[in-house]
Every structure is written in structure tokens, then in C-alpha cells.
Symmetry: C2
Subunit: 266 residues, 2 copies
């Protein structure tokens, strides 16, 4: 089920104009939201906050941010659907990178059913795609995702996820998720200030577990970890038990967090 909403002008047909700046330049943002059985998104507020931060980082005007958030908030959740993807673009512009602040943004919503929750642990490896460093875009779920497309395409056949590093060897994230590691009894997650997406499950875990530290680490640490988890709005929290062909323990905290996340959607 798909709907388009041109902020300010209401719902439209289910296709975009060629000249939409999402298609031309990846000039926009997205959110992938898990809903409960009643069509309610338990972490909706965090999605909206991240979207608003992203719109500001992409220099949408205050008026455009307001239009977009109003459009997004007016979305009717169809019963039975358990996930949606929101896609916000700067709208249909003239030729060239420049844009007028009064462009009408386009909000598109796509409903689908989220995968069933699973507790089976992941097999993961290290991606050969090195993430670039761009503090102006770090944290935001923008539409420039070619690095993830290339990383996903170079998965080994048995992988469920991969670890992506930046050029200084810092672990940033998974291709489709954020990453948390238990080292010397402490849980850490990378800073996400120069690369990567600040995921909603990441934020929820940090909010609900203040003992987790935001601190960078490298690849060598992962091989001696007492726990490694990947987090993603749709699949929730998944432990990794085989990383780069080495076996890792599944930490008890991971199971607890996994259940706490899943319970929100019951």
C-alpha cells in the first residue's frame, strides 16, 4: 500500500516526477518504522525527532520542516500493516543543485508487513566497503546510500549482517543496523558523529540502559568481545554468534533487551 503526500497539498498519485530531487540527487531522508498490531508506532516520537534533525541538516526551511512534520503526523495507519517507510524529498526543483526555500517537499509513505521477530543469532563479517567521513550528514537517514548498496552486494552467502569501518579503522555500524559490543564487561556503541546513522533502536537502548557507553572501538576488539548485537527498527535486536568465522557468546543482556523491544509491539 503506497501513498504520496505533497506537504501542504494533500495526497497524490503513487509515482514521483522525474524532476523530484530525491531521484535527481538523493536530496531527502527516510524513516523505516515498525508498528504494533493496532497500527501504533511505539517509538514514533524518536522517528519524528530524527527526521526533524535530518531536515535541518539538509537545510530545509523552518516552514518546510513544519509542513513535512504535519504531513507525516497526518498519516492514517491502515489496520493490519506492521511497518511503513516514510520518504521525504525536497520536492520537484529546477535543473541544478540549487534550490529555493519555498519548494514544496514530497512525503511518500509505503506500508508493508514487518518480518516476524526472531531470536536466531546472526552470522556476520567485515565489509570491504570503507565508509566515508562526512560530519555534515552523519547520524541522518538520508537518501545517499550507495555505500550501503555496495556493502550489501558484497555480503558472503552466509552473512546476515556486516561490520562497516571508516578509513581510520573505527567500527561505525552494520550495513542495515547499529552495533553494540560488550568489552571487558562494558557495553559500547560507536559515536556516529562522522559517519553512520543514529538509529532509533540505538537511541532507545541508550535511553533505557544508561550503563551503555558511547565510545568508539576498532575491529580487533570485536574478536575478543563477550557480546555483539545489531539493532534495527524492523528486526529489533539480534545477537551475533559468528563474526568473521569466530564464535562469540550470546550475552544475557542481549536477550533481555531483545524481549523488551519486542514487548513494545505486542
Amino acid at each position: 500500500m503506497k501513498f504520496n503526500y505533497q506537504a501542504g497539498n494533500g495526497w497524490q498519485s503513487d509515482s514521483q516526477e522525474f524532476d523530484d530531487r530525491g531521484q535527481q540527487f538523493g536530496d531527502g531522508l527516510f524513516e523505516t518504522v515498525r508498528l504494533d498490531g493496532h497500527g501504533v508506532a511505539p517509538l514514533w516520537q524518536m522517528h519524528i525527532e530524527r527526521l526533524a534533525l535530518g531536515l535541518k541538516a539538509l537545510r530545509f526551511s523552518d516552514a518546510a520542516v513544519e509542513l513535512v512534520l504535519h504531513a507525516v503526523d497526518s498519516i492514517a495507519h491502515p489496520p493490519g500493516m506492521t511497518a511503513c517507510k516514510l520518504l521525504v524529498t525536497r520536492g520537484v526543483g529546477l535543473r541544478g543543485y540549487g534550490f529555493s526555500p519555498d519548494l514544496m517537499p514530497l512525503v511518500t509513505v509505503r506500508y508493508f508487513n514487518a518480518p516476524e521477530f526472531s531470536t536466531s543469532p546472526y552470522v556476520a563479517g567485515t565489509s570491504d566497503v570503507v565508509l566515508s567521513t562526512q560530519p555534515l550528514l552523519a547520524g541522518h537517514k538520508h537518501l545517499n546510500r550507495l555505500e550501503q548498496v555496495l556493502a550489501r552486494d558484497s555480503f558472503d552467502a552466509e552473512w546476515n549482517e556486516c561490520i562497516m569501518l571508516d578509513s581510520s579503522g573505527i567500527v561505525i555500524e552494520g550495513c542495515m543496523s547499529n552495533v553494540f559490543v560488550k568489552l571487558d564487561g562494558r557495553w559500547l556503541t560507536p559515536e556516529i558523529t562522522s559517519s553512520g546513522i543514529n538509529g532509533v533502536v540505538r537511541r532507545w537502548l541508550l535511553d533505557t540502559n544508561p550503563e551503555i557507553n558511547v565510545q568508539n572501538f576498532g575491529l580487533p576488539e570485536l574478536n575478543s568481545a563477550q557480546g555483539l548485537i545489531f539493532t534495527n527498527s524492523l528486526v529489533g535486536i539480534r545477537s551475533c554468534h559468528i563474526f568473521d568465522s569466530q564464535t562469540l557468546d550470546v550475552a544475557p543482556e542481549a536477550k533481555r533487551w531483545q524481549l523488551a523491544y519486542q514487548e513494545m509491539f505486542e
Copy 2:
């Protein structure tokens, strides 16, 4: 005037599906091509070569590359139009970053009239947007262009172009063009191996003027340059006479190259 061509399936309507991977992830490439009065593109072969290299870098299958190049080559040039933008995406995929090699790529062509050639020199400055480093994508005219969108938006009112640096201070390109500088009597242009687009006018200038060197340089050199030019398929070759509020000479070679470029379109 707009046409869509789904490679292999012929021409379609003038809008894209929401699920097109161009819109979702910036998963595609573009070419902006200047045509002469007969609808012929003098540098067509260079555009096609760059597009083919980009498709391979984005891991389009050999079969997909062939389909795209056939579609692009079958484009009828409408008389009177002097420019076109080709946009190639990986096509309509399922949810997620992964893709099947047998996805049907989408080629979209948009005709418009190029700006009249002008010899008036540019005013330029230095962008505060630092380009990220990604050798896997460098050189290719892909659809992940948020850095250029941000750079264009931070132009001073009097600028025609800007210089963009990488994080090590190397000059990479202009926001919309490649850059050439004359230092100690020698013309240089940056390598474009870790960031930036390998422009068609850049390649034409290097091919026709073997005395130009491909060599990196920094910002300090620009202030003592004996010439600074920006190159772009649509506007051709433009000298810069005011850079960061300092006056620069307009080099005689620049005028000669400018005319040689323009003559191809007569």
C-alpha cells in the same frame, strides 16, 4: 521534453515508481550532455564511456550495462534542443539495499536548452562543505549528490562557482565543474581518484592538451595562480578572475580552449 526508457522494454510514462532505487538510495548515475544545433553531441563517446565505467563501479551486471547502453544509444535527439540529462537507475527493486542482478534498469532522458555560451569570467570562493573520500565512487557521476546540494546552498550571493576541498586540504573540484589551475607556468588539474567527478570537458581538455598535468594541489597555490578555470559540459570553459576576493589573471590558453570547445557546437 521528457522520456523514460525501461532498458529492454521501451519507452514509458514520464514519472518513476516510488520503489525505483534512484529515489530510494540514489542508486544510479547521470550524464548532462550538450548537443549542437543538429542534435549531435560532439563528446557523446566520452559520456558513454564514463557511464559504462560508472555502471560497472555500481556493480550493474554486464547484461544490464549492455541494456542501458543500447537504450541510451537509441535515444532520438529532438531538433532544436541543445542539451539533455540522462538518468540511469538500477530500477524498481524490493525493499532493502540488496538487489538482484536481473533488475530492469531505468533510463530517463530529459531534453532542455543549454545556456548560451558566455566568456564572462567567474567569481568564486571556497566552499565550507568538505568532500568526503570514497575511492569506490570517485570519478563517477552517481546520484548521491547531497554534498553538492549543501555546497551550492552555501554560495555567497556573488559567486558563480566554488572550490571544494577534501579533508586533507586537497582541491578536488568545483561544486558543478572540474578545476584547472596554472602554477609556475604549468597547468594542473586534480587526480579525482578519491573524491569528485571525472568530467567530460576535463577529459577532452587533457586529451587535446597533453601538456596539462594531472597533479593535486592545495588552496594556498590558488591565490598565486596565473590562471584558474572551471569546466562543465553545459557551460564549457570559464575563467575565474576573482577568487576568495583576490583578482586573478585570465590566462590566454583559457580563452583559446574556451573557443575550441564552443566551436564543436557550431
